[in-house]
């Protein structure tokens, strides 16, 4: 099953770059969600003034090199952004044909706790290691954040570059969340308690439920696929 997930989404999950003069800097992961050329990512990766670009993994079989000096990215623009929910909807600037099956948006409401999920991103891009990597986890809990955002906790440690990657339900191959990062218990701690300087170590990560992305897509008058 994980092979199928990888096969299906390897072209959808892309590296997200910010353009800085004539160079680009790696920010995280973004992924295709709509055949009209729309992508989703985590809102906290982008500032709003940046010029953004995405680059798909180059198609190659077998063992591949993970280093790169340059890249051939595609310009994208921010169409919708919800900082409260940490989700951004991007779109290719140029017209690009996208081949995509129907029904790739999952229903997080119906995903049981303990369900196996996969996430597919570029965890080590900040360190100039461009490896497209699939990880498996289970949905450990479904919780509400401080501002009532639907959050899926899953039990694998995601690295910084995987933020913005899709969280995919292994059983139906549909996307149920946008990976936000590692779960930091102190973020949810009662306000009056004193926080420690260093983060608490957990191997739990979180993703924002795809429901919130559906709202952005509706605002953009897209049919949910």
């Amino acid at each position: 099953m994980l092979q199928d997930i990888y096969y299906q989404y390897k072209g959808a999950s892309m590296m997200l770059f910010r353009k800085e003069k004539d160079e680009v800097a790696f920010c995280g992961t973004a992924f295709l969600v709509h055949a009209d050329g729309y992508l989703l990512t985590a809102a906290h990766l982008i500032t709003g003034q940046d010029e953004l670009m995405v680059a798909p993994m180059e198609e190659a079989a077998g063992f591949v090199s993970v280093s790169a000096e340059s890249v051939a990215p595609i310009s994208v623009e921010i169409r919708q952004i919800d900082r409260q929910r940490d989700i951004a909807l991007l779109k290719f600037v140029q017209e690009i044909e996208v081949t995509m099956p129907e029904h790739i948006m999952g229903i997080p409401e119906e995903v049981p706790i303990g369900n196996t999920v996969a996430c597919l991103g570029f965890p080590f891009g900040h360190y100039h290691i461009y490896v497209h990597l699939i990880k498996q986890a289970v949905v450990s809990a479904k919780i509400l954040s401080g501002n009532e955002t639907h959050i899926l906790l899953f039990d694998t440690m995601v690295h910084d570059g995987s933020r913005g990657a899709p969280l995919i339900n292994l059983y139906d191959g549909r996307i149920i969340g946008v990976v936000g990062g590692r779960f930091e218990p102190q973020e949810l701690m009662p306000r009056q308690l004193k926080r420690s300087e260093t983060p608490i170590k957990t191997n739990i990560s979180y993703a924002v439920s795809i429901d919130h992305a559906s709202k952005l897509m509706e605002d953009e008058a897209l049919s949910i696929m």
Binding site: A25, L32, V71, A72, I74, I96, T99, H126, H128, S145
Partner: protein
């Protein structure tokens, strides 16, 4: 390719008034079928003897020479369906991942059971075990072993195999129609074979044949059935048997069926089917309670156990070494009968199964009906056997004389026989209505070019034509001839079934395969990647928390 053809409830079902005068039909299929049917009926009535002989010959020749092929086919289909039940395609939902069932589980089950077995079960539930008890090539008649074998053979004929055939056809049609966006029609089953040609004359011919065969199948059953109902009524009330009474009965049954078809699937057919199953359950419960309850309870378990243990043996038995011809008249007849009915029943099952997953579908169409059938056959068959073996006897003789009457002879052995017999008559009639209305519905869908909610005017036309054909054949003669003709379509369709297994498997594999997401050509230029980990910029507290 994957369009979801959701049966649109708002279309004709909720507002018959608006669509009353729309005659949205497939012109070739509709008019040629209607013309052929009328022509055939006329020809059959005129050349009765001749037509009867031809089809009788054809039927017995195919049973004789192609018996082994039927046995192969039904077993392959059963194994195939069981593999699908257990296999990785079980989670595929008919109509796409977001489809939800249109009918409640009880309503769904009532409809498919009423369409699939219905009336035959009522008569043969009593009669068939009696026949096999009195004579079969496997054991000495009249012994304990004969009773056991009699139930086993009856279970074979009415059990997993027929329902597997229906499930196979239903699943193929539903999958290709709801998940692949093809029209909900028999021609769709040939798509893997003919490709786009199903939209041309090849497809039209298939649909015309299916329409004609379905109509004759349902109409001849109706015609022959009312004779049985009449025999029953006569036995009970002494009203005599005459074509006049039978035509009136056809009129009544057709009237109710027409009403039900016009009301639509949910308001008409589903409700009638539920009422029908309710009455049937009441009758079965009554017979079980007043009859030899303990014997029936014991028998149910033992019959099922014996059936499962001997299933591979009996279902592949081909009477090779016995060198008898018993099987042609029974097993092979049943197999070609079920196969000949399968386009009609399969189509109906497909129509009502939108939104079920393949696993639910197979559980609901294969296992549950089989269990209910076993329960029914045990209640009626074993009660008859009990009377024959340990009681007053007389059922076997009654069966030999007149099959429909044997049910009433059975009921007479128990208290309140007038009440139960009346209930039996009601069940028989409602079963006729439900197979008649589902038959019309199927024809409506086919002749409207695969529209799951066909126009009301055409529903009216086919429902009435069906009654008219039954009545004409009843008065003019030729019911048996045309019924035999319908059964002869079993042989070619057996080959189609095998092709369908292959096509469905391929279709499912393709459908379930992961679909790569890719982007096409784009204009880009190379950028250098900046040598500075920009982590600082993206970190920090998010508003989310």
């Amino acid at each position: 390719m994957e369009k979801n053809q959701e049966p649109d409830k708002t279309n004709a079902e909720s507002s018959p008034e608006e669509s009353w005068f729309q005659l949205d039909v497939h012109p070739q299929v509709f008019f040629i079928s209607a013309a052929l049917i009328i022509l055939f009926v006329a020809a059959t009535i005129v050349f009765q003897q001749y037509v009867g002989d031809i089809f009788q010959q054809m039927q017995s020749r195919t049973s004789e020479y192609a018996g082994w092929l039927f046995i192969w086919t039904v077993n392959i289909v059963l194994v195939f369906i069981l593999v699908l039940l257990a296999g990785r395609f079980g989670d595929i939902r008919l109509g796409g991942p977001d489809a939800r069932p249109e009918f409640s589980t009880l309503g769904w089950f009532s409809m498919l059971f009423s369409a699939g077995m219905g009336i035959g079960l009522l008569f043969y539930g009593v009669a068939e075990p009696m026949f096999h008890y009195a004579a079969n090539p496997l054991t000495e008649p009249g012994t304990t072993e004969a009773a056991r074998k009699a139930m086993d053979i009856t279970f074979l004929h009415w059990g997993l195999h027929p329902w597997a055939i229906y499930a196979m056809v239903g699943l193929s049609l539903a999958f290709f129609a709801f998940n692949k966006g093809l029209p909900l029609s028999i021609r769709t089953a040939f798509y893997p074979l003919l490709g786009e040609r199903i939209y041309g004359w090849a497809g039209n011919t298939i649909d015309i044949l299916a329409t004609v065969a379905t109509l004759f199948g349902v109409a001849t059953s109706l015609g022959l059935g009312v004779q049985q109902v009449n025999a029953g009524l006569d036995y009970l009330l002494g009203i005599g048997q005459s074509p006049m009474i039978q035509v009136i009965l056809i009129g009544c049954i057709t009237g109710v069926a027409t009403w039900s078809v016009i009301k639509g699937l949910d308001k008409g057919i589903r409700r009638l089917s539920e009422i029908n199953i309710g009455f049937a359950a009441l009758l079965a419960l009554f017979v079980m309670l007043v009859g030899p309850t303990l014997f029936v309870m014991d028998a149910l378990l033992e019959n099922i156990g014996y059936y499962l243990q001997h299933l591979p043996q009996l279902s592949t038995w081909n009477e090779t070494y016995e060198h008898t011809e018993w099987q042609q008249g029974w097993t092979i007849f049943y197999w070609s009968w079920w196969i000949a009915w399968s386009p009609f029943v399969g189509m109906f099952i497909a129509r009502v199964s939108y939104g079920r997953s393949i696993r639910q579908f197979i559980l609901g169409v294969l296992l549950v009906p089989t269990m209910v059938t076993f329960l029914w056959v045990t209640i009626f068959g074993n009660t008859a056997l009990f009377i024959e073996m340990f009681g007053g006897g007389g059922i076997a003789r009654a069966v030999q004389e007149n099959i429909p009457v044997s049910l009433f002879v059975l009921l007479e052995n128990f208290p309140l026989s007038m009440l139960t017999s009346s209930l039996a008559i009601i069940v028989i009639i409602t079963f006729f209505v439900t197979s008649s209305d589902s038959g019309s519905m199927v024809i409506d869908i086919i002749t409207s070019g695969g529209n799951p909610n066909p126009p009301v005017l055409s529903r009216l036309f086919w429902a009435i034509l069906e009654g008219a054909v039954a009545a004409s054949l009843l008065v003019g003669g030729g019911l048996v001839a045309l019924q035999t003709a319908t059964i002869t379509t079993g042989l070619p369709f057996a080959l189609v079934l095998l092709g369908m297994c292959f096509a469905l498997y391929r279709g499912l594999s393709e459908y379930a395969a992961p679909k790569e997401i890719r982007i096409g050509d784009r204009e880009t230029r190379e950028f250098r990647i900046k040598h500075k980990p920009p982590l600082d910029k993206t970190f920090g507290r998010r508003r989310l928390w």
